[in-house]
Symmetry: C2
Subunit: 118 residues, 2 copies
Amino acid sequence: MRYTNEIIMGLAKTEIFSDQQNEIASFAKVFGHPARVAILQHLFKLNTCVCGDLVSEIGLAQPTISQHLKELKLLGLIKGSVEGTSVCYCINTEKWLEMKEIINQFLNQDISKQGDCC
Amino acid sequence: MRYTNEIIMGLAKTEIFSDQQNEIASFAKVFGHPARVAILQHLFKLNTCVCGDLVSEIGLAQPTISQHLKELKLLGLIKGSVEGTSVCYCINTEKWLEMKEIINQFLNQDISKQGDCC
DNA sequence: TTTGTATATCGCAATATTACGATTAATATT
DNA sequence: AATATTAATCGTAATATTGCGATATACAAA
């Protein structure tokens, strides 16, 4: 099969969308997996750094949790610091609020004007 | 490689998470792609059914748009109705509000108690 | 220094997702 | 009836994601 354009199969064509649209999608994607939702909820619940117990808490293998944490860290939603042999994680409040603002702006689009024509 | 448990590689282990966590993840996932963000924003902007012009508006091939619309319809976020040769789409307001409530509950977790210990 | 503990990384397997060309189906139009 | 238009579906290609075992790394304890 031939593609004349720069189409890389299986890869989202982010370049045709606005920065805002890509940003919304990136944030949504990161909590588009139940394990990452569970991790974030656990961090919120404890109100403090969580050191080590995430693996036993979530119920996935240690490398899998580590990978999910990496993705959350990459977007800046969590922070981590080494504490002896273990690593402690917590919510990055600034980034969380920034994300919340961006997602809310998307979710809170004025729905009242939507005609129910379909 | 052998797996004693019921691990199906590449598939999220949804069964170990709560319904709420899986629901949050499902909704987030669906707007975790810029094309679907763009489609939803366009539907909001027009305040009415959008018949046909989505392909030219978004800039992806017709089958690709059709596939994204299918995913949005599957979750119930949009409704479609046949209008002559074309199909008209609009936001499903009830489902949108339901989704908004669920995502907001997740985003609005009390961040004030988070100790900045990391 | 050796041993233990906790996390990260590597490598792999398998499914999921994204995208599009070709085709099909359904309805208008001529 | 033949043709045009529009959207859905099929098939395929290629990357992305998910998950875990094995290993590496880093630090603490004995």
